[in-house]
Amino acid sequence: MTFDAIGIAGTSLTVHRKWLDAIADNLANANTAAPTSGPAFRARYIEAQAGPGTSGVYVAGVREGDAAGRLVFEPDNPLADAEGYVRYPDIDLSEQMGSLIMAQRGYQANAQVVDRARTMYESALQIGRSS
């Protein structure tokens, strides 16, 4: 590939954006209650894998969180069952916030790689140009 480094960084930008989307979704639904008859909201965890050779990174799969969730006693909740329990998703907020920062940092680092690679390729295009 001609402008390889930019393509490689591009694959990582995609992966980190998907990661960011998953985390945003998890945080938005962290307090979504569900009746005990069905599953709780299942958090999504992106699994990344390195491509063969030097082809960057891609999403190998999406792992879903625990369907059982946490049983919380809330008799006033309209979704509560006969004993007064509701299901909440099993999402660790601090862990998700940590992942959010890592995803953002990874995205920024790869955006910088694109910029530096562009500088390099532009300089290569100047070889032999008569002044």
Partner: protein, 113 residues
Amino acid sequence: MLDSVTSAALTSALDGLSRRQRAIADNIANVNTPGYHAQRVQFEEALAASVQDGDGRATATTSLSAEPTRTNGNNVNLDTETMSNIDTVLRFQFATQALNAQFTGLRSALRTS
């Protein structure tokens, strides 16, 4: 004149630096991938030895870094990669400039007005 040791050395350096840039891009792309080990590209020593022998051509070799990993098996150090990236870009710019000077010198000698 155009195939001198210097020209060959500068061209080999450009090849090596370009491979290094790709390796760095791959490392930074996989900064959060579990189990990934950073790639390292070497060519400086081979190039210096080749210049000593009067040839000037050298191919770059890639290897995996054996630095300690984090808990998820990844051993990419973002600061090292960033520094290396900036260094590579600057070296590349210098090498293209030096290679350019070879051609420009010939051109100005040819100019007769």
